[in-house]
């Protein structure tokens, strides 16, 4: 059964029918937002059953659309928190990928700007590595990008999509070692992205992120995870009720190969390891429970089949 990421939008009336249907079909609801009279569900559903969901939700005026970024956590790496980079373009891009289902976090570097003086410290590096992908937003000059990029990439293990002012061919030529994705002509600008051509550029960024993530998904599929992150999410919600009291918008953030649990590590790590998934298999057997560098959260990294010899 192939699960595909989709977004469901519809009225609040009888939306629980849709949730039940998704769960009965073997899908998972990753995020649920209730906005006044509207409900937005970001979920994984079986590929063959999308039509069925469409049909059942038609009387409720529900809409099912593809959302390739659902279930991913993206680091939007901004060079600083100054007016030079915020709110445009950093927030514009972070917000745009959020609309397509991703959970985006803005990672702003303490010493990001400049050419010679640019740097990346260990905390920033570790925080970026906790995500599925990093989107680097750089400036307008190829000289600066060429000079600082090797420093900013040092120690980063996740795929990088680089956005910069020069043309895409130039970016490909100057970045050494090469990164996974490039989007040209998006450097620093100080106006809101609202015109059609600017929105096209945002779509181009999303397309590039999707392409890189697909590649990552394919490589994960070659050595499948021992348990699906979305399934683990439901399980933790069921077994550790403390998560229901967390006021963060996404107390459990689903990633492609893991999960961020927004509970204190010292208090809950042991309890989390002991969560039983199925037939006596504990979470600690199929995943690493690590302290996150983001606040005192817990990071669950699910191990692949090759390491555990189990798939649940």
């Amino acid at each position: 059964m192939t699960l595909v990421p989709v977004t469901y939008k519809g009225g609040i009336y009888q939306h629980d029918i849709v949730i039940d249907l998704i769960e009965d079909l073997g899908g998972y609801v990753v995020q649920k937002h209730v906005l006044a009279q509207e409900v937005v569900l970001q979920c994984f559903v079986p590929k063959d059953d999308i039509e069925l969901i469409r049909e059942i939700s038609r009387p409720l005026f529900g809409e099912v659309t593809d959302s390739p970024l659902v279930g991913t956590e993206i680091a939007v790496v901004s060079m600083s928190l100054e007016i030079h980079h915020l709110p445009h373009p950093s927030c514009d891009i972070a917000e745009y990928v959020r609309r397509l289902g991703a959970k985006s976090n803005m990672v702003s570097l303490a010493r990001g700007p400049g050419k010679r003086i640019a740097g990346l410290n260990d905390e920033e590096r570790d925080v970026i590595n906790e995500h599925d992908i990093a989107v680097y937003l750089l400036g307008n000059f190829e000289t600066c990008i060429e000079y600082k990029m090797p420093t900013l990439m040092r120690g980063i293990e996740v795929p990088i999509v680089l956005c910069g002012g020069p043309d895409i061919e130039v970016l490909k030529k100057i970045v050494d070692p090469p990164v996974d994705g490039y989007v040209g002509n998006v450097g620093r600008f100080m106006r809101r992205t609202k015109e059609a051509d600017q929105l096209d550029k945002l779509d181009e960024i999303v397309a590039e992120i999707t392409r890189v993530l697909e590649k990552k998904r394919d490589s994960i599929a070659k050595d499948p995870l021992s348990v699906s992150p979305a399934r683990l999410m439901g399980l933790i919600r069921e077994k550790i009720p403390a998560i229901l009291d967390v006021t963060s918008p996404t107390p459990l953030t689903v990633q492609m190969a893991g999960l961020r649990v927004k509970l204190p590590y010292d208090t809950y790590a042991a309890e989390l390891r002991k969560v039983e998934i199925e037939d006596g298999i504990l979470l600690g057997d199929v995943a690493e429970i690590l302290p996150s560098r983001m606040r005192d959260y817990i990071l669950v990294r699910i191990l692949p089949f090759s390491e555990t010899n189990t798939v649940v």
Binding site: M79, S80, E82, I83, H84, H85, P113, G114, K115, R116, I117, A118, G139, N140, F141, E142, T143, C144, G165, P166, D167, G187, R188, F189, M190, R191
Partner: protein, 193 residues
Amino acid sequence: MNAIEYFEVECPEPLGAEYYKQIANDVLLDHNLLRVINKLHIFIDPKVPVFVAVGTLKRITTIVRVRDLANVNPQEGKMTLVVSDETYLASMLKIFWERFGKEKVEQPDRFTVILYDIPTSAQEIEEIVVADPSESLFKDLIYAFRCISPEGFRLKSERFSTEKFSFVASENTLAEDIDALVREKFALMGETP
């Protein structure tokens, strides 16, 4: 609004120059500064790296008076001011309080101010100077150029006078001959520093 007479961005990277022209235009427009700049030449060399902005300013004589933001209607024993622009309302009220006393100034709603029994004519009220935007001009200009220049360029040298200005920024210590570069950029606009 009069357009800038001369506006150029010079850079070894043509695409970078184009982006910075857009950034400079957006920032100056946002801060309402295009009306005070007459000529502007920006030079950026990311290889050095250095950012230079030189330019000339227009003479600003726009003093904001009561008549610019409100209609004064004299009535029996009182004077009613109908405010059309709230921007300078707070400073106008402050001036009235100081001059006539708080008991004689009343503001029943956002757009109305009533002055009771004041020994001044409507014409005199209209001529009261409320604000002088040129006071904060240099502060605004310096802020705008800090926004325009690349963020990493933290070592700055700024010179602002009533007619001309120069703004130089770099991430390295500024070279001693930076004045020669500023002079050269002024010369491109047909000016001297």
